[in-house]
Symmetry: C2
Subunit: 368 residues, 2 copies
């Protein structure tokens, strides 16, 4: 529905990428290429950290979960993500995490892209973990323990395979069906997959330990006795108040790296620690302003909660890939007005000769 162009008429449409279209996009580009592309964008955006207008996410908590909005902007581009976290959803046949997001033009406020972000969040979280591990894990890390084998786990395994060179994953989940699903999904990957009987067994001998559990409880998935010298811990699952995965003592065994401290102190593993607990911002390490790993024996901990900037990076990637491949469709989320001061005209024009506005029409007929 386009109206006649006037000299000043600017068409407003939003590129819409549905979940099936995101699948198509990822299939056509290849998952490894998508993970690499998002990781490259994350690195690029983290290196210009100070250019962003940042804020902690806005969460609405209820007994069953949380719904969050995660906005961020630089001078040119604004993005936000809508994301929920409802651990009991899987019992209803629904995903624990569902998400979508928007990329908009700062100069005019026009929403340019509306995209699914459920699948994309899994990719960006895995890409973020790999970017952090590249900066923090021992070079030559080959074995990763993967604790929590739910919806995010395949993406973590494949991101660490493709971006870090991990060759073996050691799996554990309290739900054996989740582990069996992960094992089956990883079969074609070329990764050596070892199913373990406990977290302790999976962690033993691992260079990297990734936790992606979903229970909304103060859990202690990893205890201090499991931590070995040189280990990198990628703690992904603990990401809201009251939800942690690491025993507090684990956090004292090495250096802790975070995305955005104001958010991580509320949501991350370090919510268990005093407000002045020392952390290092990951962007400072990437930018060479702070040291990363000091020695092969040091324990490094990435206390990841997921920050809006990573979604900014992912939305940029999805937009560019969608435009490159011609995936997605144009939708009219915003009215396309011939005269922007005449919003009411959109009702009049659509009506043509018919009844436009009830109540008016009767008077119109009476007058005519």
């Amino acid at each position: 529905m386009r109206h006649d162009a006037t000299p000043h008429h600017t068409s407003v449409s939003t590129l819409y990428l549905s979940a099936p279209e995101a699948v198509e996009l990822i299939r056509r580009k290849g998952l490894a290429a998508c993970l690499a592309g998002i990781a490259a964008n994350i690195t690029e955006d983290f290196l210009r950290w100070e250019s962003f207008d940042k804020s902690a996410r806005v969460a609405s908590y209820s007994p069953d979960g949380a719904i969050e909005l995660m906005p961020i902007a630089d001078d040119a581009t604004y993005t936000f993500k809508y994301v929920n976290g409802h651990p009991k959803n899987t019992r209803l046949g629904l995903s624990t995490v569902m998400a979508f997001g928007v990329l908009a033009d700062v100069a005019t406020g026009t929403p340019q892209l509306l995209s699914e972000l459920t699948l994309t969040t899994a990719l960006r979280t895995a890409a973020m973990s790999a970017v952090a591990a590249k900066a923090l894990a021992r070079p030559g890390s080959r074995v990763m323990a993967l604790i929590g084998n739910g919806a995010q786990s395949e993406f973590q395994a494949l991101a660490f395979q493709h971006l870090l060179g991990i060759t073996e994953v050691r799996l554990y989940d309290t739900d054996p069906a989740a582990t069996a699903k992960l094992q089956a999904n990883l079969r074609p990957s070329g990764l050596v997959v070892t199913v373990c009987g406990s977290t302790a067994e999976a962690v033993r001998g691992a260079d990297i330990v990734t936790t992606v559990t979903a229970d909304k409880t103060r859990a202690t998935i990893i205890t201090a006795d499991m931590v070995a010298p040189g280990m990198h811990i990628n703690a992904v699952g603990g990401d809201c108040p009251g939800k942690t995965e690491l025993q507090a003592e684990v956090l004292t065994r090495g250096r802790v790296f975070v995305e955005y401290p104001p958010q991580t102190r509320i949501e991350g593993e370090i919510q268990q620690m005093p407000a002045d607990f020392a952390v290092t911002e990951l962007w400072q390490v990437l930018a060479g302003r702070e040291a990363g790993r000091a020695s092969d024996a040091e324990v490094t901990i990435f206390d990841s909660v997921g920050f809006a900037l990573e979604d900014f990076s992912a939305l940029r990637f999805m937009r560019d890939a969608a435009l490159e491949l011609g995936v997605g469709e144009r939708i009219q989320l915003i009215p396309d007005l011939a005269n922007p001061k005449d919003l009411f005209g959109t009702l009049r024009q659509a009506g043509a000769g018919e009844a436009v506005v009830q109540g008016q029409v009767h008077r119109l007929q009476a007058v005519a």
Copy 2:
């Protein structure tokens, strides 16, 4: 794209109402019925004010404008609105204000409705103004001055006609073309329309004064000398830091009523006043807990900035009307997963016999 149902499979789709579909909905129900329906929902929701998890909107300011997210929730329903405000947009042929919003299920986080809100915001703002005026303006008010004849003005005029019984509107705008457009759009309404040469002329003799200007400046559209006893001032346009329409002195001439004080003190006309300037919350008046207008001579001022609850009310209306009329379409913003723990499966299933994940496939062929 539906996959085979499993015992626990729950289909996830979002009802999408585009701008043209919202036009269709409004045309089929009638604008007066839509204004009345949204006003009824606003009243209902304001009466259960304390059931809502409220917060001031989250704004991202840039030199040219603002992009805001406005979330709110009760126990069952969560909504948010994305809205921009870019006064220079009309020069580019774009709307000053563009908006869309989502209504979601609190229990699971599922987004149930994605709707255009550019047009709907104009309706809900006008409905809100009418709800406030019904409680605050002199009974029997018949003449309204309408200062600012842009995109929102028709909706204000028609809401006051249909919901309050206004019979005459007196128009003024610095842009005569805007006034001419409003006058033409109101021709079939049955309202007596008087075009005035200045704000002072338009305001003289008016029972109600509505200001809906868009300039992002500390303006003084209404000065204290224009205020007559018994007048109700409906100040709609001043709605962000640095943007006001009333001379500060006007605010001392009567009682000031607001939506949500923490937001209004930042964004409303009262940003010009001390932090402890006395205001009355409109919901308290609607609920009978605070007095409204005290006498026919009192001046009442509704310092409206637009609060998330009004969008909640409007989104409920649009959802119910869309379902009733069968308007809108189902979109797959969220992946429809046969097994919610198997997000990765969405890539595998879509691939069927083809290449699913680049890099994996080559290994698969090598193994086979």
